[in-house]
Amino acid sequence: MKTLHVCAQPMLRAFFTLLFVASLFGLSACNGSSKTTFVLETNSEFSWGLSESTALPIEPDSNPMTEAKFQLGRHLFYDDALSGNGTQSCNSCHEQALGFADGETLPVGSTGQVLARNAQGLLNVAYNSTLTWANSSLLSLEAQIAVPLFGEDPIEHGINDSNEELVLDALRANPLYPDMFAAAFPNDGDPVDMNNVIRSLAVFVRGMVSFETDFDRFQSGDTDALSASAQRGQTLFFSEGLECFHCHGGYNFSDSTADRTMYPAFIERPFHNTGLFNIGGTGDYPSDNTGIFELTGVPSHMGKFRAPTLRNISVTAPYMHDGSMADLEEVIDFYAAGGRNIAAGPNAGDGRLNPFKDSLVNGFSVTPSEKQDLIAFLNALTDESFNTNPRFSDPTE
């Protein structure tokens, strides 16, 4: 480097001298404290009962969560008056002690019609990115709840145009409801209507959230929360050999999960064919239960159903969308075999060879003790506090 010695221009001299001084003062610019501030887009007035680190469910702008709606929805959930013939409530197929499943292979509607699909538990339904077993268009509880209330095939609650007013009159006649509806919907002139019934039920079901299992306690640092067997089962569950976690992963143990932190365009709504059937070797499922094929008509959608959460799995037997498996041992054997082979009868066919089967259902090998470890882990997903929480119980008892 060669340097020269000459006079400098006064303007430049002033400018760079200023820079020198500025840099010295710049050093003191770091005297404050670092901070990270969060500006949340949605704030809920509702008390979810969840830890601060838990992402909250999506709350629709059209039906914000309030305690008044939650309590009204809770009463309606347990009320037989909310059916066409006054014999059936939501609770008829969703019992709290069973994680809000019903323990039956298939539920029965208010008119005696047997439904095609098993009644699912309702823990953390608010986190499902789609609702029911196989409907890619049901994205909100408000839309879903109308199905059991007004559905004609199958008939569940059996409410229709001819009896809707009678049902509402029955609600108006209950001395509790007028005030509860008014409190829940203070801006409505006559708040006792079906829209508000649906909104209240949706708020109640959306509020049925909990993460209080032994698994959650273990994750939070309580190393005694999981037995040694359950810890071994956890390792198996999250192994690439068994593949369980691919469809039943994430904090809600389902790949069909959404919460308010997620960018809407990124939310996934997958459905899976697990190889339960392969009628005639063409990949068919029973005609009354073909998964999302029923809606889309796309051949490759045959037999595809949503992977439900495994939380509370130990109390929500029987299993699968048709309730065809009685216990968890049978379910593990089914996945270990890579599908189900039905040797005879109208549904005969080797589900293991179903052309639409999910590529992750390949079968695996586990020893009897490993199977017990897996079951121990699945049992650790039971949320007893949810199943006994008075906040979700029948308010009339």
Partner: protein
């Protein structure tokens, strides 16, 4: 830039302007081919990345900022080949190994041309360049008093900024000059740009006040990031320091704009020693989106980074002290903010990340230098003190 500081600076600057100021500088390379080699190796008893990925809390890190680990390390091995013809043209290529990684990087490979007209010089360079907005970028470990870069460079430039691009520098013999650099934009804090996605402009000036030589520099840089990942997690080159994930975890899309001031004051007033004081202050404004597979949040961040170093040199002996500090002010907009801050390291800690270092260096032989450093490292929550011994060798041909 914080206007209150500038205002104070403007007020005080008048006091410092001296009527008999003079200045320096034009680059005059030696014609012919030359080979320069440098090696620095060290041992330290504790590092910032012992068994973990180093992340300065509150900063979206990336690039080649790998932190340090306990034990022996080849901090830098550099081979630089240069050629300058007798007229205007020159070429420089440099390969190096930096830090505790094993791969050899082509740090520089560029052609340049130099024209001089009177007291004015124009320098044009194109190829793979090391940014020159601050001389700190071009400095290898061997040329620094401290083995590790200032935290500011780790936080804002991924250690150092190298990319394919072009630059022009116009200098005057009085010691002032301006430069502009334009880069592809494939290096942190930029990434994945189809068109030039990074660039900077800078200006410098040298002054002499009797026995004080003052070297001042200011720069402004802009960098665009598309789908930027933390390459330390995904590069697969063994940089992840015990973190086995090859999942990028999160992405950043957005703009980073930096403003920097650098001043070096050389005091020749003592017969028995030379005293140098160097200070840099940088401010980065970062705006964009942080996202993972499912979530995204808008990020508006300001990072103020400073470092200052005092150096006292007498003969073969050098004593140096340095202090670094970083202050971040992040705002994340969106419900995913808390989760993404946790994932990407944007959560701050109670104290500003900082580091204080003392070094003693001795030129042991003509080409061999040894040093010892004491560190009080508060760049993460796990503050620690460390000792470092280093050996530096350099050789050249002809």
């Amino acid at each position: 830039m914080k206007t209150n500081y500038l205002a104070m600076a403007a007020g005080l600057s008048a006091l410092l302007i001296h009527t008999s100021v003079s200045a320096h500088g034009l680059w005059q390379p030696t014609p012919g081919a030359a080979l320069n080699m440098e090696v620095t190796t060290s041992y330290r008893n504790q590092g910032t990345a012992d068994g973990q990925l180093w992340n300065i809390p509150g900063v979206l890190m990336g690039g080649e900022t790998h932190g340090t680990e306990k034990g022996f390390s080849l901090d830098s091995a550099v081979i630089e080949l240069s050629y300058f013809d007798n007229e205007h043209v020159y070429g420089i290529a440099e390969v190096s190994v930096h830090g505790q990684h094993s791969e050899v990087d082509m740090e520089k490979a560029y052609l340049g041309a130099l024209w001089q007209q009177g007291a004015t010089q124009l320098q044009l360079e194109a190829g793979k360049l090391s940014a020159q907005f601050s001389p700190q970028h071009g400095k290898h470990t061997n040329a620094r008093n401290f083995v590790d870069q200032p935290l500011a460079y780790d936080a804002l430039y991924g250690g150092h900024f190298n990319d394919i691009g072009a630059r022009a520098i116009l200098s005057h013999a009085e010691g002032r000059g301006v430069g502009i650099e334009v880069f592809n934009g494939d290096s942190y804090p930029a990434s994945n740009n189809d068109n030039p996605g990074a660039g900077d402009i800078f200006a410098f000036y040298h002054l002499t006040f009797d026995s004080i030589l003052l070297q001042s520099r200011v720069w402004y840089g802009a960098y665009k990031a598309n789908d930027r990942v933390d390459e330390r997690l995904t590069s697969g080159d063994g940089h992840s320091h015990g973190v086995t994930s090859t999942d990028p975890s999160y992405w950043f899309d957005g703009d980073t704009r930096t403003l920097g001031l650098r001043n070096k004051m050389i005091w020749l007033g003592w017969d028995w020693a030379q005293v140098n004081l160097t200070a840099e202050y940088m401010q980065a404004d970062i705006e964009g989106t942080v996202r993972d597979d499912l979530r995204q949040a808008k990020l508006d961040s300001q990072v103020d980074a400073m470092w200052a170093a005092l150096e006292i040199k007498r003969g073969k002996h050098t004593l140096a002290l340095a202090y670094d500090q970083i202050q971040t002010d992040n705002t994340l907009l969106g419900d995913a903010g808390p989760a993404l801050a946790e994932l990407s390291g944007l959560n701050t800690m109670s104290d500003n990340p900082n580091r204080f270092r003392i070094a003693y260096l001795q030129q042991w032989q003509d080409h061999l230098k040894w040093s010892v450093e004491l560190h009080a490292d508060g760049s993460t929550e796990d503050e620690f003190n460390a000792v470092l011994f280093a050996l530096r060798w350099n050789g050249s041909w002809p």
